[in-house]
């Protein structure tokens, strides 16, 4: 079964250890790029995770699997929770094995004299600068040009929840109209971290809980089912509960 969605083909369901194809490099510039979940060993390409084998472009293959635990990667945007201040840095929990650090100066308009003050328990949205398995992850809230680019500490009056990683990747995909269809009914601000944490804010408390449940439904529904049902779901959550 090969479905097309903007150049992405879903090839087959694989289990760990399944051989996907035989490939031996033989000098005539034939190249295959292997993404996450695939491994090349002794001329065989095997899957190391269970999930759907997808082909993104002409020669790029990867396995898309359900995962809840986050493994930090460079250049990913994540939402972190501040644990405590450690010298000139803040210690942040990003959902990985180790807490990450962010320097007090890694914010726009901060210098040695005027620093950004944050308390333990605050939320911060930043980009991972360093994230390999041998070092502590490091975050920054500015880009190369020292501009904020919407990375900052998040105010306290939103709602934050955790979704599995594949749901976070699904809703961030620009071809995906799920978040847009929710926006037709309710105005809201959403920030999605690649570590599975999502932060939402609307004007009314009830709307926030409704949208939160709609996004969490994506864990068990496919995208087509969710798009059909999104308005029905929203209405059911917006009905006021009697006490």
């Amino acid at each position: 079964m090969a479905l097309k969605s903007g150049g992405l083909k879903i090839l087959q369901v694989v289990l760990p250890g399944d051989e996907v194809l035989q490939f031996s490099p033989n000098g005539n510039n034939e190249r295959i790029i292997l993404g996450p979940g695939l491994r090349w060993h002794e001329n065989n390409i095997c899957a190391t995770r269970s999930g759907l084998l997808k082909k993104a472009s002409k020669n790029f293959y990867y396995v898309d699997s359900h995962q809840k635990r986050y493994i930090p990667h460079e250049k990913e945007f994540v939402i972190g929770i501040i644990l405590r201040k450690k010298g000139d840095n803040y210690l942040i929990d990003i959902g990985g094995n180790e807490p990450g650090t962010i320097s007090c100066l890694a914010f726009e308009n901060s210098s040695k004299k005027s620093r950004k003050e944050m308390k333990p328990g605050d939320l911060i949205f930043g980009q991972l600068l360093v994230a390999n398995r041998d070092m502590e992850p490091e975050l920054v809230c500015i880009d190369v040009f020292n501009k904020t680019v919407s990375m900052e500490s998040l105010p306290d009056d939103g709602i934050m929840f955790t979704v599995p990683l594949h749901v976070a990747r699904m809703i961030v995909n620009p071809e995906n109209i799920y978040l847009m269809s929710i926006a037709k009914k309710i105005n809201y601000t959403v920030i999605v971290g690649f570590n599975g944490r999502v932060w939402l804010k609307t004007e009314k408390q009830r709307d926030m809980v409704a949208i939160m449940n709609c996004i969490m439904m994506l864990e068990f529904m496919s995208l087509e089912e969710a798009e059909k049902n999104v308005f029905r779901l929203l209405d059911s959550f917006l009905v006021p509960v009697q006490h």
Partner: protein, 256 residues
């Protein structure tokens, strides 16, 4: 792994949602999540699903010597296991507070309430009695482990059938296999039912939530466990302090 810390944003949003009268999963304040009980092929095995929380209880029995102080009573031993499968911050082997608490709840509910007739577990006075061992394993932690463990162990005990035993005149004891003779069910005089409530004290008003989910548990001020023994109505209270503030719960919100 350490437990993921609770951010200020999550705490304030749960409390303000409760003040507005709403829970995250759209339940009523006094509504319990869906409960399902699945019994295994062997006698004495039960899996309870309370929403996303899953607990497995297994009862096994063996014949041992009785305690010298109580020569014609059987024995029950209960043990709770928490592994990293239930939640990433649990460490198997190391005893932590939650394991002690759950063990305390189960021992109080099942042993101290004397709901099981221990004298019926006697085979030969002063020589051999049945020892029932209840092993409770938490498979997934999504809030309200006390209720789920209690439900699983009570259901497993009621599901358990012990093999039939014949005592000869000269004192020999023969334990029959399940194929030879019909096994005997355990008899419970009273059935302990455990209900957990979480209290939130907001602006001098107290809100009572039944069957708290994991986040609600972590944010709540107080926890009350009500144990009701069916048939013989007897209340037991147990209070665990998750004190975020040093104030006492106002007497108006104590359940009647």
């Amino acid at each position: 792994m350490k437990e993921v810390p609770l951010s200020t944003c999550e705490k304030t949003s749960i409390v303000s949602a409760i003040r507005a009268g709403q829970r995250y999963d759209n339940r009523e304040f006094l509504e319990v999540r869906d409960i399902s009980l699945n019994f295994g092929k062997d006698y004495g095995s039960c899996t309870v699903t309370l929403g996303q929380t899953r607990v497995l209880a297994q009862v096994t029995g063996e014949v041992v010597e009785p305690r010298p102080s109580r020569p014609n009573e059987g024995k029950i031993s209960i043990s709770v296991h928490l592994s990293p499968m239930a939640a990433p911050h649990f460490e198997s082997g190391r005893s932590n507070d939650l394991v002690d608490e759950l063990q305390q709840i189960l021992e109080r509910n099942i042993k101290e309430s004397r709901c099981l007739d221990l004298e019926s577990l006697c085979v030969l006075a002063e020589e051999s009695v049945w020892q029932l061992r209840v092993d409770v394993t938490v498979l997934n932690h999504a809030g309200n482990l006390g209720d789920a463990c209690n439900l699983a162990s009570v259901a497993a005990l009621r599901h358990f059938h012990r093999p039939d035993v014949t005592v000869e005149e000269d004192g020999r004891v023969t334990i029959h296999t399940l194929e030879e003779r019909e096994p005997i069910p355990t008899f419970m005089k009273k059935v302990p039912v455990c209900l957990t409530y979480a209290f939130f004290v907001v602006d001098d008003k107290c809100y009572m939530l039944m069957d708290p989910s994991e986040k609600e548990e972590r944010v709540s001020n107080y926890f009350y466990e009500l144990v009701k023994l069916w048939i013989k109505v007897k209340f037991g209270f147990m209070r665990f302090g998750w004190l975020l503030r040093q104030t006492l719960v106002p007497p108006t919100c104590l359940p009647s």
